[in-house]
Symmetry: C2
DNA sequence: CTGTTAGCGCATTCAT
DNA sequence: ATGAATGCGCTAACAG
């Protein structure tokens, strides 16, 4: 039913090998025959059989990008950036952020200047290589960048890695924090090693390097700890002392690092004792606050989503109505925190300051605008994409720490003088 | 280097054919030999060679999900839902959003109770979840659900479809509005037909059915027009008459439908003349407002992102300082609109009401909470996933319209009496 | 530059 | 219930 290489060869009156050569572009072919072949390809609407091609060449053009939550822009931004570097042939960094818009012509009304696809890969500039990517979307040496949603589940993460391994993926990018369970870490590590052995390039983005990570091409880690520390230092500088922390899932590295940064700052300010750095954690909404040091009592764990932030903050306010500031695990959680705080009749930042993490696009639009820590998600994702494609040389040691920048905005302010009208 | 089927066969002292049979599970194999094979597989850390398997079977377990903007939760939610239905064997609808836990889990070691399973191409009996998916993340008959980010570019959409076609994808789900350019529509339509002919199941989610869409398994379309109409009717009922509209890219179906709904309502209220339904559009920031009917003057096109909403709204307020309400293309744009309105010193909703579309998670947290139109994104995505897997029978005619529900919240209120303190 | 010849690793007929 | 062939469609050496 579907046309094969042989069909094209017959129609172009050449051998299958020749057709293969012009299709792959990495081999000298007479311009005349090349044209004939190309024409035959078009006439037959021929599309390469990927599996067959991969089998014969022992390589695939699949590149997998694993994310914890595809509905979270935190991952979407990184994944999109990585994809833009992988998908298009050379893809200058130009394509850029707004991504969405990039292609789709600006609102250009009716007729208006049409525009072809933005500036696509340097247009016909096709230097030596393949060159195709013709009108009909023939897709030349394109890689197929795909994102896989693990939902934060280590099992699914492993499953996806296996699936990708099975496809003999050219590269794999793992984004976001890892789960700290030793068993899973070992399993993931082993799997990545196997992938690397099989020739798959492995890149970590926004995830701490794994122990014995020789298997990995590069690990781009965010400075979550430093960011968390600076954020809390900012609050301390404003005069806050009773600072609540709405943390993410206890088992994730991201959660731990951000929390550690917070506590480092608190400890340095003498607000929590030395030697009590252990986090006993708490599932979230249950009111088990007996005993424990302040640092535990003022920390509530939840998920990285809005509702969780909302509930955890209510719990926090229940435990300690006198908090003057709430630091959230990330911006989304901060949004939920804001809702909870307002629901209790408190104002932001007059009664309670709120801070987030990540600086997602919507954070600047929150009212008041959210003080947060900016992570260069797009840049990191793009770099990971380039690393995965071998278009950029890995950082020394294969590890790079990406800075986190404090963004002070309206949601944080000095605490109010203690008056009686608090807590209703 | 990597183990092959033959290696496993040798180690288990059976033929390659037998190994293949137990791995695919759809053929009777003695329990004893099955166990031996499975053990050999584990010992050798064998992973099926996807390309070879796909080549021989002429099918692949790849399922592609195309989205316009992966950083936009609108798509992330749908894609995640679809993926959750596709990835996991049976995947009860329960799994739901936060997912985290869901996992394939059930470490069921080696043997495990077999069960009859999901039944790929309606083949054999298997009902439950295919036994495997063992500890080592062996990944049984799992499909590989992947999302591809087109960035809204028709060219990239085509490229991805070709890439997926080349991989002989089992199914493809296209989400979000389409570009209305006839050439592209035809190209996409032709491509989808070819995909369908090759056995790929095509499902549309949140996208209008294509003309002559016999190739498509099912099309789930959102009632953008109805939603847009009801939203504007709500504003009209509140007493607004000067309503501005910040539209999305002019060439997208979603944009057009929502705008049409808006104008239908305006027209029904006698606020714009009949026969002037043509949209002349406008690139956005340039102040070309000469002539034109009100409906054009009060409509500004932009992209589906925050900044665009911000800029378009500034333009709108410039053209007509007396607007008492602004309807945005979607929630994200609405956020930008809010920022612009506030920057002009106007209050929401006292001075200007604002409404969005989609009801994304953050919309309820906006201040004031955003009046919008709720689209059941998760449900639609999940349904699309099931349709793509053949787990659900298509709606009659292959087309289903999904309702849009008006959500009235704090960002809309009756317009103020006309006083002099407006417009600075 | 182009044609020939071999497999790539697995799923299937067929035979047992 | 199992094993022995055959070929899926393509790439990669080798010739020429």
């Amino acid at each position: 039913m579907t046309a094969t290489l042989a069909d094209v060869a017959a129609r172009a009156r050449v051998s299958a090998a020749t057709v293969s050569r012009v299709l792959n572009g990495n081999y000298p072919v007479a311009e005349a025959t090349r044209a004939r072949v190309l024409r035959a390809v078009d006439e037959l609407d021929y599309v390469l059989n990927g599996p067959a091609s991969s089998l014969a060449a022992a390589t695939s053009d699949l590149v997998g990008i694993l994310v914890n939550d595809i509905a979270d822009p935190f991952f979407g931004i990184m994944a999109g950036a990585a994809q833009s570097e992988i998908g298009e042939s050379g893809a200058g960094s130009g394509s850029g952020q707004a991504g969405s818009g990039a292609g789709s012509g600006a609102g250009s009304g009716a007729g208006s200047g049409q525009m072809t696809g933005s500036g696509r890969a340097g247009a016909s500039g096709r230097t030596g290589a393949s060159g195709r990517t013709g009108t009909s979307g023939r897709a030349g040496g394109e890689k197929l960048a795909v994102v896989c949603n693990t939902g934060g589940s280590p099992e699914r993460e492993l499953t996806y890695l296996t699936l990708l391994q099975r496809q003999r993926a050219a590269a794999v990018i793992l984004t976001g924090g890892a789960v700290e369970d030793p068993a899973h870490q070992a399993a993931i590590s082993a799997k990545l090693t196997k992938l690397a052995d099989a020739g798959t390039r492995v890149v970590l983005c926004g995830r701490p390097p794994l122990t014995g990570g020789e298997a990995v091409v590069a690990a781009l880690a965010f400075d979550n700890r430093g960011g968390g520390r600076r954020l809390t230092e900012h609050l301390l500088a404003l005069g806050h002392t009773r600072i609540g922390y709405v943390a993410g899932p206890a088992e994730r590295t991201t959660t731990r690092h951000r929390l550690e940064g917070h506590r480092d700052a608190m400890r340095a300010a003498g607000l929590i004792g030395y030697g009590t750095g252990r986090d006993t954690g708490d599932a979230g909404s249950k009111g088990s606050a007996e005993g424990a040091y302040d640092e535990d009592r003022l920390t509530v764990h939840g998920l990285y989503d809005r509702r969780s932030g909302y509930e955890a903050t209510l719990e926090l306010l229940r435990r300690e109505p006198e908090v003057t500031a709430v630091v959230a695990a990330n911006d989304t959680v901060a949004l939920g925190a804001c809702a909870a705080i307002r629901e209790r009749g408190l104002r932001i930042p007059e009664d309670v300051s709120v801070a987030g993490f990540d600086d997602l696009p919507f954070s600047v639009d929150a009212v008041p605008a959210l003080t947060t820590v900016r992570l260069p998600l797009f840049e990191a994702g793009a770099r990971a994409g380039r690393l995965a494609m071998g278009k950029e040389t890995p950082p020394p040691g294969g590890i790079a720490t990406i800075g986190a920048e404090l963004m002070v905005r309206g949601s944080t302010a000095p605490p109010r003088m203690r008056t009686a009208n608090r807590g209703r």
